[in-house]
């Protein structure tokens, strides 16, 4: 049990990072589409 908890404790952070990586990536693609649609600059 201790082994499992320790592994989870270490690996949960890269897993959360992966989720945020996806969230930011998808949101940025949306930002790019909206900027193109509105004919304005991305930044």
């Amino acid at each position: 049990m201790q082994t499992f908890i320790l592994a989870l404790y270490v690996l949960i952070w890269p897993l959360i990072s992966l989720v945020i990586f996806a969230v930011i990536g998808i949101a940025t693609v949306k930002d790019i589409r909206i900027a193109r649609r509105d004919k304005r600059e991305l930044v």
Binding site: Q2, T3, F4, L6, A7, Y9, V10, L11, W13, P14, I16, S17, L18, I20, F21, V23, I24, G25, I26, A27, T28, V29, K30, D31, I34, A35, R40, E41, L42, V43
Partner: protein, 550 residues
């Protein structure tokens, strides 16, 4: 140096990696480069940054090279809870400023710096206190980041420390100089994506290279009872609490954060800050786990230097490809923070110094842009020189931290309470700073009644920190009641105890004393400020700017 202890890249390989990173970043900025940049875009991207780029930029800016080394050191020193006491509090501070950030945006939708808002609220003296502390803080940050580059290059290659410093300085300046904040935000996105990808790969790679979870389980026997305790008081008092207090001040006082706050579209502030909170926490705590794993395997840092922990673990257990990825990770983190510092300083000189105090709200946009770019060049030179000669200016960081701590309550109160005056703001900051120095450097003997009084003031400071957090999320009444209750409880525990933790005592005193002064001096005046004046005084500078988000 260190050939036999760390993996060594050849000079050609490390130069190729740096050319790939900085060359790629520069090419990326060509996508947005305009022959004639707009001043408002140069400073805050016309307040039009979307959620994805905003969250990426906020996270990348908040993570600097020291974040990895600090989290790993904390994991190695304090065990299981160590990485949490570094990463969690840093992350929560991003979340903490979001409710106040919304207020700042509401009061001054066209602001470029927090100093402009304070200028409109109080005038030049309060504004320049904020601006000068930001300049000093960003110079120190630049120096630290360039130093990290020099150290990394000299440890992992035959190149000298100075070469690493100069390459980082030239590299960051090259892609930030022309487009300013716009370039910073765009490259932050790419740098963060790279950092996240590397962190996602490296953390499990190190764990399995060590022998997997079983090795960690076996390594628990190497931990002291305090290190094995998730609720270690040692970790809370020596790492968590001082860090919590320090980053709160940093979050409010630092222009790199407020610049992004003013740049993100107003309707995207909330998701941006929440995503950045989780992103920062996950990356930094995750890399802190490498320090914990080092502890669990009984590894000793080379030369006793904790900054060697991560390079040592990566060198020892992973293939050269991962070492290259780690190299990019550190270069990416320090560059994203350094370019934000350059953008922040240029905005302060452009808006706070030139726009408000020299041109009196009627600046010449061309001259303004020139000032911004000149600021970046001078700041980079200063950062490179300070880092190259390894000048010991970190003592200044203590003062900047204290200044920012003393600023937190006056800044927030000025935006919510119409009775705060310029005199109250200025005297509160000065009093907080002076009392901080007295406590931090023990200018009076920390015994008897004096120590007890200081501990009471620190308890007030603790109440202020927690009360402000409650106020931000739950409103004025709950904030006031919660803060008062916390101060009373803390007073009970602090007296006779906190004097042994000088750093924490002094930091909390800066909050407590500045709050007491700010309230007392404000109450002496009967004047009331009309907050609608701020929007009228804080303007866009460039007439060619497109319409801002409604």
């Amino acid at each position: 140096m260190n050939e036999e202890r760390f993996y060594q890249f050849s000079t050609v390989t490390v130069l190729a990696l740096l050319a790939f990173f900085y060359g790629g970043t520069y090419l990326l900025t060509l996508l947005i480069k305009k022959k004639k940049e707009n001043t408002d875009a140069f400073m805050v991207s016309n307040h039009q940054i979307g959620f994805g780029l905003g969250a990426a930029s906020m996270t990348a800016t908040w993570i600097w090279a020291a974040s990895f080394y600090g989290a790993a050191t904390s994991g190695y020193t304090y065990g299981i809870s160590g990485p949490l006491h570094y990463g969690l509090w840093g992350a929560l501070m991003i979340l903490f400023i979001y409710p106040f950030g919304r207020r700042f945006r509401k009061l001054a939708p066209n602001a470029h710096t927090l100093g402009e808002l304070i200028h409109a609220r109080h005038g030049s003296s309060s504004q320049l206190i904020l601006a000068s502390s930001n300049i000093l803080g960003s110079i120190i940050s630049l120096m630290v980041n360039f130093t990290a580059s020099g150290a990394l290059v000299s440890v992992l290659s035959p190149l000298s420390f100075q070469a690493g410093v100069v390459i980082a300085g030239v590299g960051v300046l090259s892609y930030t100089l022309w487009s300013g904040f716009r370039a910073s935000v765009l490259t932050d996105f790419a740098q963060l994506m790279a950092m996240m990808a590397v962190a996602i790969l490296i953390i499990p790679a190190v764990m399995f290279a060590l022998g997997g979870p079983e090795t960690l389980s076996d390594g628990m026997s190497l931990l002291t009872p305090e290190q094995a305790n998730l609720f270690s008081m040692d970790a809370i008092l020596n790492q968590g609490a001082p860090f919590f207090v320090a980053v709160l001040a940093y979050a409010i006082g630092n222009q790199t954060i407020s610049q992004r706050l003013f740049a993100v579209r107003e309707d995207h502030i909330k998701p941006t800050f929440i995503t950045a909170t989780i992103g920062y926490g996950a990356i930094v705590i995750g890399l802190g786990m490498i320090g914990l794993m080092a502890l669990m395997t009984g590894m000793e840092p080379i030369d006793g230097d904790m900054n060697n922990l991560i390079p040592q673990m990566v060198s020892m257990y992973l293939s050269p490809v991962f070492i290259g990825l780690f190299f990019i990770l550190v270069i990416g983190s320090l560059s994203s923070t350094a370019d934000s510092d350059l953008s922040a300083m240029s905005a302060i000189l452009m808006a706070d110094v030139y726009g408000k105090n020299i041109a009196k709200n009627k600046p010449d946009p061309t001259k303004m842009l020139f000032i911004g770019r000149l600021t970046m060049i001078v700041a980079t030179l200063i950062g490179v020189v300070l880092a190259s000669f390894s000048m010991d200016i970190l003592i200044m960081l203590v003062f900047v931290g204290a200044l920012w701590g003393a600023i937190v309550f006056p800044v927030i109160a000025s935006c919510f309470w119409d009775r705060v005056t310029n005199k109250a703001f200025t005297s509160a900051v000065i009093a907080g700073l002076v009392m901080f120095c007295v406590a931090r450097f023990e200018l009076v003997p920390m015994i008897g009644v004096t120590a007890g009084l200081f501990e009471l003031l620190a308890a007030v400071g603790g109440g202020v920190v927690l009360g402000l957090m409650a106020f931000g999320f739950c409103g004025r009444r709950i904030g006031l009641v919660f803060g008062t209750l916390c101060a009373i409880v803390l007073a009970y525990f602090c007296v006779g105890f906190l004097r042994d933790y000088t750093v924490l005592l002094a930091s909390l005193m800066a909050y407590g004393v500045s709050t007491i002064f700010c309230i007392a001096v404000s109450l002496m005046s009967s004047s009331k400020f009309d907050f609608s004046q701020i929007d009228q005084k804080v303007i866009n500078y460039d007439p060619t700017k497109p319409a801002t988000q409604g």
